[in-house]
Symmetry: C2
Subunit: 258 residues, 2 copies
């Protein structure tokens, strides 16, 4: 119903973008790509996105810039893909993996063989030549995690030095950091454990952050390793995250004056 | 999947309450009580609830107090019920209608006969003797609204002087206010159009607000109309809403100091 209804929304509706994304997520849920909690997670994202004005903030740009540098410097970059990521930005994720010569690894909180296969299909349909983290693999395991969440691909996250994890859960982000990996995350909640744990936290919507990451990585191709390393050294994630929080706080106190 | 998973969550998990509610919403969605967008709306609620500390704030208490007074003073109070309300607090809604001698009216954004019937069943199962807004009625219509959202029950909202509308959409809240009705809303987003439009805005989670409303209404039975009217006159919704916003803003700027 809501899908039909949002399809009927005219493009000049103030909530058009948001309603079309919502419709896409409902389709993905019905197709089995999203877990039950995937739609709920999307709703949480909508709320936080609303609070940053549904646009890429200056702090998000800085973090995207640093994230692109970290990924460009990586010896063995891996991009972790969950259901929401596969539903929202499959082509952009595949294009970024190509640009970085990074591995793509499926990594689900509520892992089922069916969902893994559907997400692999979605990624291959978007042009992925290699997809890790499938059921065909003999998995490796990350220290400090229990259950299916400890699973990692031997050819992927298990040996990665830099991992891009959009929408990662806190426990896993902490375990990856504890494993000595650099973690670049994209998360709309600046208060989430993942946001606070990661090496580089991009507070932005995946549908804006991925195209920005792609163009940043392209730009950085002109820079040498020293320049990239300096860029990374100059970026303070905690300070940047604090600035994101202040943007939201201002949105709250400012909004009522309109 | 997420339902099974959250069922396995132990009661001392910090997110236990939130995860159990999430599981209940997933069940309601699968039962057909929630529209596709219902789970997403729940997720938005989770985010805003998180920002007020997942507890009833002092400003929410004040609004609940005033809302209980408005409903107690009403000549013809009506409680509007949508899918999320029926899924989260069916028994509390029915108990409040009994206490206030108020009508219960089903009022859906994505209205389908099937959902209307499922929600009527849920309310009757929770003890409702009368349910308005069903398919059996010849509906009336509210001025200033187009399409199914203009629908109202002749015996219900159409002639109500005070309407309790948990989780109402902005257009409809404005049309009800324009129609000279007093609108009491419960909404977790202090920036929503409904929150800003309503006569009395309770920024709280339905699962906390409804029990609070019930006990407030019980307490106010001891008061006479003059005392209740004074309570209402002393309540400033815009100021109270501003205070709710400041609580969230503080949550944002404060959180990082932890």
């Amino acid at each position: 119903m809501s899908f039909k209804n949002s399809i009927m929304i005219s493009p000049d509706h103030p909530r058009y973008e948001s309603l079309m994304l919502r419709a896409r997520m409902v389709e993905a849920y019905k197709a089995g790509i999203l877990a039950d909690s995937g739609l709920i997670a999307h709703g949480r994202g909508e709320a936080f996105d609303y609070l940053i004005g549904e646009k890429t903030t200056e702090t998000a740009r800085k973090a995207t810039h640093a994230g692109a540098a970290a990924l460009s410097l990586a010896e063995y970059p891996v991009i972790s893909v969950n259901g929401n990521t596969a539903a929202l930005v499959p082509h952009e994720i595949v294009a970024l993996a190509d640009k970085l010569n990074a591995k793509l690894e499926i990594n689900l909180f509520y892992r089922t063989p069916t969902r893994v296969n559907l997400i692999e299909k979605a990624l291959r349909y978007a042009g992925a030549k290699e997809v890790l983290g499938t059921e065909r693999e003999e998995p490796a395991y990350i220290n400090g995690l229990k259950g299916p969440r400890s699973r990692a691909s031997k050819e992927g996250i298990y040996q990665a030095d830099v991992v891009l994890v959009p929408l990662e859960d806190g426990d896993r982000a902490e375990a990856l950091m504890a494993g000595g990996k650099k973690v670049v995350t994209i998360d709309l909640n600046p208060l989430s454990r993942t946001a606070k744990t990661a090496s580089i936290t991009i507070i932005d919507n995946l549908v804006r952050a991925l195209p920005n990451l792609l163009s940043e990585v392209e730009k950085l191709k002109k820079m040498d390793r020293n320049q990239l390393q300096k860029m990374l050294k100059d970026f303070d994630n905690e300070k940047n995250l604090q600035n994101s929080l202040e943007i939201v706080a201002r949105a709250y106190t400012g909004e009522m004056e309109l």
